[in-house]
Structures are given as structure tokens and as C-alpha cells.
Symmetry: C2
Subunit: 370 residues, 2 copies
Amino acid sequence: MRADRKGYDPARILLSVSNTVSTSLSLKEVSRVVLRESINALGTDHSSLFLIDESRRHLMLEEVMGFKRDEIENIKVLGSWEAINTQLVKRKKPLMVNDVHRNLLFKDKKLPFSKERLPVSSFLAAPLIKDREVIGALIVSNKKRSMRVFAKEDMHLLRTLSNHVAIALLNARLYEDMRELFISTVKSLVRAIDAKDPYTSGHSERVMRYSTAIGRVMGLDEARLENLGLSSLLHDVGKIGIREKILAKPGKLSSLEKRQMRLHTSIGVRIVDTIKNAGKIIRGIKEHHERFDGKGYPAGLKGGAISPEARIVAVADTFDALTTNRPYRKAHTKDRAFLNIRRGSSRQFDPAVVRAFVSSYKKDPRTWSP
Amino acid sequence: MRADRKGYDPARILLSVSNTVSTSLSLKEVSRVVLRESINALGTDHSSLFLIDESRRHLMLEEVMGFKRDEIENIKVLGSWEAINTQLVKRKKPLMVNDVHRNLLFKDKKLPFSKERLPVSSFLAAPLIKDREVIGALIVSNKKRSMRVFAKEDMHLLRTLSNHVAIALLNARLYEDMRELFISTVKSLVRAIDAKDPYTSGHSERVMRYSTAIGRVMGLDEARLENLGLSSLLHDVGKIGIREKILAKPGKLSSLEKRQMRLHTSIGVRIVDTIKNAGKIIRGIKEHHERFDGKGYPAGLKGGAISPEARIVAVADTFDALTTNRPYRKAHTKDRAFLNIRRGSSRQFDPAVVRAFVSSYKKDPRTWSP
């Protein structure tokens, strides 16, 4: 295989691309690598990645590179544009246009090509095909090298490149689908468990949302945020082991009933313990009723001995308990709950977590609405 | 890049390999492709793939190609063999041995190299590295071309090839880890729900095992088996919505209580309906108490109008109900349950499902033990 006239070697380029795009199973990361590599390989100003929607008829913009923010809105139109759809999705062929403004296809006045709206003068579009099905499209625009003109060999390169990245994109999609299936299944089971206690409907999901918001402010990385999410979603799972009579009791619990209710953290641990790799989520469940001053349950742990996840869930859990109706009182207002938590800093709660809570509460009030 | 003397072009080979290995997220499939492609690329009799265990110190045999069944046991030894471990796992370097029987490294008498036990005369081993960590090893043995001698360029090729397949293997592992986390989480939540009904502890998991066994005999593909598995695991999830008093009632249910109990299929549908892509698993839950003769509930569907998944779950569910203790009677023996189900063919059950049940029950009695 010889290097072509332009001095780039297609086999080497493809090899590097097909390696780089496979190194992640995150759709966002894979997309970014695909866009960066296609800009480099073809020498263009921008590139855009479209994925097919569920009806398998429309191309939806997934990610772009090289465009300004205002221009991105306009590039979306390309995905539903007749000429692109016919050639790429129906005929499964690439499309090369070297002078947008002179080309007959572009008489359509609705298209946003102009210096101000979408400064694209030439583009090359190829379908992404896996198992003979079009799963998306890759479009590069504004050739910089070779007199600003796309040639046949560019078309060949983009086409081959598209075949290679299709697999990586599909794998990333499969992985994210599995993750979403996982999270949505766990959510629906937890919702069913919450429903046994008429006073806590939707509680677990809200605590998950609150905990994740606090974790983000505290700078937790994606992997830890994911564990925190799962841990907070499952923090009350042990309530399934508490009798309905106690859960739904409208009045105050007797001290015996209270003792039984408090078992929910250890019952939760027993349930979750059978999960493969549960180690990372179990402490958020076990210790979410511990207090920073050591006066909590079940173990009376103090300060840093409580896992960071549990210290976060404690604040999120309390905020939700305060802002929803309980058997023994009406819901507090958000602001009253906010003050309550701030007052609990260093006693019930880790002050660092309370600071993160305060910052998130002030910056993003929408997250903190029950 | 020029083709080398042997007439094979490393870039082309690598390109083809790195594409082929990425087309699946199944560890088994990816492994097979890796082995096949390395045998082809290097022209050897066999190849073997090892993956590192959780302690990150031992190489465990994952998959082989080209060896006879008896020889596979002996190749396992290579993974824990000192010379391989030092060179590949500790030094992260490849190892090339062209005459096993004359090489000093092989004075070790415990090694099983011999015509009868493991007919390997030369081999080439390379570590699989991702993010500077050794995740496994790829070993090809018995060079067929080039005077049966491995050369430096083979070593270079195997090394590059190993880097490429490492990513695909890791992606497959990540995907399977996520799947296992998913299944084990759902299992543990379902187990907690089962536990509310003291008579059905472990019921859902057994029905999953039975349903999958029937589905396998009926020739369902992997994707449908997976949906069937999830559907059967969740078939009784709606029982979470039934009051404890009714679930745990030791005597016979009144007709009002029976009506409430029968709501569990529709409650299950409501719970599962919030899961993304639940479409494929919902009918197994909704229709698992329908009867083939149309006399079931909730809709009185008949024959083929009942989804295949629900027709399978119906048999699996009944077999488990018959072979475990119930509030109103002791468990039947397996053989009595077997006869009961056979007698229900065409009336309560789809005869095709009963045939598959009979065949699985006779062929694989271990699966059918509560």
C-alpha cells in the first residue's frame, strides 16, 4: 500500500482512528474522537456527526466540532434536509458538494448557508453503516488543503473512515442503552418499594437527584458520582423489610416501633450485599443515618469515619424529609428546610457537605424542588 | 508503508483485525475472533488467550484455538508458569521461544511440553496492555511458515496486534460487567420483594432459571432469551402492591382477596412500564396467568394470542408453585409436578412449551431442582 499523492497514508490514518475511537464506551467521548480525527484526516474546518432516530428515518445531530455556537442550530437543519436524506439514508451513498452556492441542489431557500448563519462553502457527507443499516452520518465541511476542493480520494477516505467508526459508535450506544436499562429498572423497582410507604412516594429518586447535585459541587469524578447515584437511589431499600403497619402508621412511633424502623439500614445492607461489586455502594446505605457528631445509628460513627457517600446522602435525605408531608407534620417550605440543614452543620452533618449543599441550592434552585 | 518480505502487509492485517474484533461486545465472540485472526496473521497451529485475574497477578486461560480437548488442560499451566509471568506480567515484554525442548528456560520438569500432552515446539507470547496495565496475554504456538521459526517481525506484529485487541477485550469486559451488575441488582431487589411473601422466597429466580431452560430448548436466540430472563425474573413484581395480610394469609383466600391477589399482574405492568424499552418484557408479566384454552386472567387470551414469553413463564411458574410449600398445602414431588404439567398441555399450557419442558426436564434434571 503506497502513500497517496497528498502525503497521507489512508491505512495508517484508519488504523489510528479505529484504535482511538474504540478506547471508550462513552457515546460523547467516542463522538468527539470521531469528529477530531475526521477533521485531521481530511483537513477541513468543521465536522458533524448525526445519528439516526428511533423511527430510522431522520438524522439527528449528535455532536459537532469547529462551528460557533449560533451556527450549530443551523447545521441541525441538514439532518432533515431532503437531498441528504435521499442520498445517505435511502441510497446509502456519500454526497460531495464543492460549491454550495452554485450547486443546483441548493436552490432551496430554506437552507441556512450564508456567511452569517452557516459559513459552509463545500462539504462531504458519508453514511455510517453497520450490518447494511444506516445508523448515522458523518459530514466534514470547508476543505482547507488542495485548493479548497474535495476530491474522489477524500470521498473514499471518509467512506472507509465512516465504516470504521460506525462499530465504535454502535458499541458505545449499546453500552449506554444497557446502563439506561439498568438505571431505569432499578428506579422502577425502588419506586415500587417507596410506594409501600404512602408518605415517601418518589423519595428515593429525589434523594438521588439531590445527592448527585451535591457530589458534583464537591468535584467527585464520574465513576464516584455513579456509585453515589446508585447508593442514594437504594438508601431506603431496606424499608421493604419493615412491616406495613409501622411504615404507614399515621401517629408517632412507639420506642419499639422506632427500633424496628431503624433496622432498615441493616436490612438494606443484607439486600444489596448480594449484588456483584456492591462494595462501592453499600456504605452509603449502611451509614446514611449516622451523624457527624457520632450520635447517629446504627454504629454511632463520627466525622471522617462515616463514608463520604453516606455524609452526602444524609443531607439529601433530610432535605427531602423536611420538604415533604410526613405522618406527623406538614411539609416545611424549602427555605425553612435550607436553614434547618445549615443549622445542623458540624452536628448532624459534615460541614463540607453542607457548604456544597448551600452552593448548589443557591446556584441551581430548580434541582432543589421536590 | 511497504509490504514486508513475507508478502503480508502489517497495516492491512491490523486494520482488518481491529475492525473485526470490535464488532461485538460479547467477551466470548471477541476472544474467538482474536484467536482466529492471530492464527491467520502469524501462520501458526494454535493460539491461546489469557486474561489477568482480579488479584492482577495470575493469567487465567480464557479461550484457545487449534488445541485438542486433552491438551487444553495442559496449556492452562502456562498461565501460572514463572517465566511467562516474569516476562509478560512483570516486565510487560513479549517472549519468543523457537525450540522449546532445547531452551534453558524449559528445564522445569513440571511443564507439560511433549508430543502427547502438549505438542508445542515453538511459541510467541505478548502481553495485552491497556493504559499501561497488563490485562492478559496472547500466545501463538507452532509457526508453520518460514522454516517453522518465529522472527523479529512476527514479534512486532503480535505485539501491535495485542495492543489493538486489548481495547476490544476490555470493552467487552466492561459491557459484561455492566450486564452482570444489572442482573444481580434486579435479582437482589426481586429477592427482597419475594421475601414479603414467606411462601415464595427464591421463587422469581427459580422461575427465571426454568423459563430460560425451556426457551433454550425452543431455540430462542440470545436477545430473546435475555428478554425472557428479565420478564420471568420480574413476573411477580406486582406482588409488592398486594397487602401483606393477603400475601401471607395461611388459609384459603376469600373471593374478594382472590380478586385483589389477581391484580398483581396489572400492578406489575404499571411498575415495569416506566422502564426504558420495557415493551419486550412487559407481556411476559401481564399474561403469565393467561391459559392456553382462554380461561385465564386478566384478559382471557387464548392460544397464540398469548405472547410466547408468557406461555413459557406460565409453565415455569406452575412447576415452581407445585414443588414448593404453599399456605394451603405441602410441596409436591418433582415427578408429580411433572405429570401435572403434562396433563395441563393444550388446556392450561401451550403444548409446544410443554414438549420443550418435558425434553429439558428429562435431559437436564439438575436444572429442575427447586
